[in-house]
Point group: C3
Chain length 136, copies 3
């Protein structure tokens, strides 16, 4: 029997429903849809980084990374990155941010696969990202 464990970074805001920010079972690690909320404050409501796409996207990627690390994984273990944007006009800027971010991460494995689609998100949110990782 392989155990399923919840991955809950202490800096993360409480999810708005009964789901885990990440789960790991065997060699599979799934990170829930992360958004650009700043580290949880003292009793305040979740607040996204801002004011623009860049700040939100970088905070979102940091939030994903924190869940990966909580599970003993890194970006090198990530197989798939799902990027949800709200505006097709953000595609080029998001790619710039994405490339610069992963350049800084100094990956040692090939980059993950990715799908980017344009959807609706709650007011104020410009980007959401979830990832699937396979541990080595």
């Amino acid at each position: 029997m392989t155990e399923k464990t919840a991955l809950v970074p202490r800096t993360h805001t409480t999810p708005p429903a009964k789901f885990s920010h990440g789960v790991k079972k065997g060699n599979i690690l799934q990170v829930a849809g992360q958004v650009g909320f700043l580290p949880s404050g003292e009793g305040g409501p979740p607040t996204p980084a801002g004011p623009g796409l860049r700040e939100q996207a970088l905070q979102t990627l940091a939030n994903v990374k924190a869940v990966l690390e909580e599970g003993g994984a890194s970006w090198d273990d990530v197989m798939m990155i799902r990027v949800y944007l709200t505006d097709v006009d953000h595609f080029a800027e998001m790619n710039e941010i994405y490339n610069a971010y992963f350049e800084e991460q100094a990956l040692t494995a090939p980059p993950a696969a990715r799908t980017t689609v344009y959807v609706g998100l709650p007011a104020g949110l410009l980007v959401e990202i979830d990832v699937l990782a396979v541990l080595g």
Copy 2:
């Protein structure tokens, strides 16, 4: 060689194309996008539960669960739940329904990760859900 098997609950309506409601291979189980169709009737067209989000969402969750059980799995094995809604204004109500549903399921493992996005769906459908499970 690990065999891939189709998971097809008898109560489910026939998919609108050549896909399986669920498949299992080794310890990985994937449930296709389920909607709130009532158990298939005698020759009638697929009909969603109604009239509101609550009925559709609960039927959708029941349809997912039936596929999981067809594969010998349960909600405890689910790693990721993808929730597709059509209206951002349904978020709060969906979370209430979701929390109450999983409270009743009496999970013994941590809750799955989740991503919720707002997309278009065929007329009459308010919610679609697919899940990835890893068997223990």
Copy 3:
């Protein structure tokens, strides 16, 4: 330590950002969101097959298949097919194309699970598809 490898068919256009068209690690293979771009030409920009949904969808499926084959996999190994369309009115036609395509592929395993949702895509693109496969 299981190695993660990138799957990059020679005919594929360069991704618009630092991601891989596909990755494989252990028995898990993930194909990135593929669109209907024709095989990459000499220095020209990526160009989608056309003029209609049929040509784009078939090219998209061919692009997915090329990534699977690069990883030593086939459609029979695919667990989940995510279909992103831009127009709910394309559902029936997409299902016809999908069924005819998979009829021709002469699968020996049960068809994969599938989710179809309607999202925004960059101008000119009508369909995007990504898949998750488990190797046998």
